[in-house]
């Protein structure tokens, strides 16, 4: 291979320098170049990280896992720590009957709801539902979708036909109808919602991944791996999966905002988390709709929070797509 095909000597030197850096150094440089190329997308990424911290994503996941495994002390939630140590965040259930339906004041920054609970604190706790549900759902559905997509692309034939006949059924039933039916009948909660949205969303996502995986399957390196005698599992995990992974990450970031909206819709219709634990959609329905004339803030702030989070997810996903996949640039 001639040098000219690779690029100039200076470029090659830059690559070797890049490779010599540690992981953190490379990560930092990648972030910096991302921030330079896509300032708005980077800012939205910061908002996403902010919501992930406020939404207690890490403690919720860690505690869930450690509880299942039965080990260790639970990690404290940020919202609980703030409620204990600051003057303006209160536990989500704390009622102050003498200050009902008030506007914003120094004590209650965004006012209070009809039974005297602080709106800002409830928004903060509601972030947990939005963030945990969206990330967990996307994780589950992408895992299922990738498995189905790669497996059907690899085996093809009758397996492929049979599975996509079933996927057709999932696609033919309007999502929200199915979610309302299942969650309404069997009862809802944080993890029920994650399971239903994640498992039913997976097959639908798998179509795009299957398309990409079929393209990868046609590549010479997969063929040579087969010739060398690599096992099915090895080809799928070591050859096909890494090559569709960029698509999976992109699909995941773009799906996050959609799931936040879906969760808010379900909570709004009353099929989300049961009260008293707040979620944004539920706050709009239970408190916002009934007191919109006396205290319009109750109908405004939760919607703003939903809008901001979804906006950040969407723009971050768009920017990530532009950087990762130049072919798709400007297609939306």
């Amino acid at each position: 291979m001639a040098v000219s095909e690779l690029g100039s000597i200076a470029e090659i030197e830059a690559w070797t320098q890049e490779a010599q850096r540690g992981f953190l150094g490379r990560l930092g440089r990648a972030l910096w170049s991302f921030a330079k190329k896509k300032p708005l997308g980077f800012a939205c990424g910061i908002i996403v990280v902010f919501f992930m911290i406020v939404g207690d994503l890490v403690p919720e996941t860690v505690n869930k896992i450690s509880k299942e495994a039965g080990l260790g002390k639970p990690v404290p939630y940020l919202a609980d720590v703030l409620a204990d140590h600051t003057g303006f965040i209160y536990p989500f259930q704390k009622q102050d009957i003498s200050h009902r339906l008030e506007g914003s004041s120094a004590k209650y920054l965004l006012g209070t709801d009809p039974i005297g609970r602080d709106v800002l604190s409830r928004l903060l706790y509601g972030a947990r539902v939005a963030v945990v549900v969206s990330f967990a759902t996307v994780f589950i559905s992408q895992a299922i979708g990738t498995t189905i997509g790669v497996a059907t692309a690899y085996y093809g034939g009758i397996v492929d036909k049979f599975i996509y006949r079933i996927v057709d059924v999932f696609q033919a039933l309007p999502g929200l109808i199915l979610y309302i039916t299942i969650l309404g009948i069997f009862g809802s909660g944080l993890w029920q919602m994650v399971m239903v949205l994640g498992v039913l969303g997976g097959p639908i996502i798998s179509r795009a991944i299957r398309g990409q995986a079929i393209q990868v399957m046609a590549m010479p390196f997969v063929e040579s791996a087969k010739v060398v005698g690599a096992s099915d599992r090895r080809i799928m995990f070591r050859y096909v999966l890494p090559n569709v992974f960029a698509l999976v990450i992109l699909g995941a970031t773009l799906q996050l905002g959609f799931i936040v909206l879906l969760e808010a819709t379900l909570s709004f219709l009353g099929y989300g988390l049961p009260p008293p634990f707040p979620s944004w959609g539920q706050m709009l329905n239970l408190e916002g709709r009934q007191n919109m004339l006396t205290q319009p803030g109750l109908a405004i702030y939760p919607g703003l929070a939903i809008g901001l989070l979804v906006f950040a997810f969407n723009l971050f996903g768009d920017a990530l797509r532009d950087v990762l996949d130049p072919r798709l640039r400007g297609s939306r």
Binding site: G175, T181, F268, M292, A299
Partner: protein, 315 residues
């Protein structure tokens, strides 16, 4: 398409008839503190869930009718609601047109607003109308439709002393009042997909305007409107139709939500009421009807390709 319909019916049947009635029976028994199996059997008989599963499915779907069983879905008989004891088909006849009309209006609203706006943004590329419309489109994508509805209800009441009519009027009873009720929800349901449409129409228009045949059309001396609307727009709209087809589930979801907010007696309201009352024959029928309606609408969208895309029409 037909196998998909059959599979949908099997899926809803399995989901509801297998898992739910059992829990209804258990709930009733638990409420009265009874555990005797005779009562359980009697209840099952009354709820119509005795017998083996395949025979139940044959009864429900109306396959059994061909060898002398009761009428089923195939014969247009969906059983009756557990709550109101009315035949479900009678309720559906009243409610399906309302929801369908709402969805249709919403679709029309979103297309007639977003296509001209998208074209405008493409013509003014990188000027302020373009930036403004693109920002609006991104904002619309991020904001939940029901929040906009709540804001409109709130500030409509506070500032203009306006509230949507509470009592629903059917089209054949009072057309003017009917459209007053339908206008606002249709606008808001149509708003949600139009963010995506504006962006799509814009990029497609930009793509098409760069094509050789558009330049040729200009060079022939055709007027600006002829080139834009006959040569460019029709070609730009082909992918938009695909996206309309993909957006139909979202539209149905929209009707469910806004029927709830604006108190419109359509299928969505029926679904939520029956889910809350565990009225499983109704839920089952509604899932089937929603699935079939969605399939039919997708088919309609596919057919409409032919009207827009000459390559299909003449092949």
């Amino acid at each position: 398409m037909l196998p998909t319909v059959v599979l949908i019916s099997v899926f809803t049947f399995v989901l509801l008839r297998v898992l739910l009635p059992d829990s209804i029976v258990n709930r009733i028994l638990l409420t009265y503190g009874r555990t005797d199996p005779e009562l359980k059997k009697e209840l099952e008989k009354e709820l119509g869930i005795s017998g083996s599963l395949p025979s139940q499915y044959a009864d429900w779907a109306g396959i059994a009718w061909f060898w002398g069983g009761p009428k089923g879905v195939l014969q247009g008989e969906m059983g009756q609601s557990l709550l109101s004891r009315r035949p479900i088909i009678q309720d559906l006849k009243r409610r399906v047109p309302v929801s369908f009309e709402l969805g249709l209006w919403a679709q029309v609203m979103s297309v007639i607003t977003s296509v001209p706006l998208g074209v405008w943004a493409a013509l003014k590329q990188d000027k302020w109308p373009d930036y403004g419309l693109r920002s609006v489109a991104i904002l619309i994508n991020a904001v939940p439709g029901f929040w906009i509805a709540i804001l409109i209800l709130t500030f409509g009441a506070i500032w203009f002393n306006w509230a949507p009519p509470i009592h629903f009027k059917f089209l054949w009873d009072d057309p003017v009042a009917h459209f007053k009720i339908m206008l606002m929800p249709a606008l808001i349901i149509g708003l949600t997909p139009s963010g995506g449409f504006i962006r799509l129409v814009r990029t497609q228009m930009l793509e098409v305007l760069r094509q050789d045949y558009v330049r040729t059309a200009y060079a022939k001396g055709l007027s600006e409107t002829t080139v834009l609307y006959k040569h460019a727009l029709r070609n730009a709209l082909i992918p938009v139709i695909t996206v309309i087809g993909l957006g139909l589930p979202g539209l149905i979801a929209g009707t469910v939500i806004f029927e709830q907010i604006f108190i419109i007696p359509g299928m969505g309201q029926y679904l939520i009421a029956s889910v809350n009352n565990l009225d499983y024959p109704v839920i089952m029928s509604l899932n089937l009807v929603f699935g079939v309606l969605l399939l039919l609408s997708v088919l309609l969208v596919d057919i409409s390709y032919a009207f827009i895309d000459p390559r299909i029409r003449f092949s």
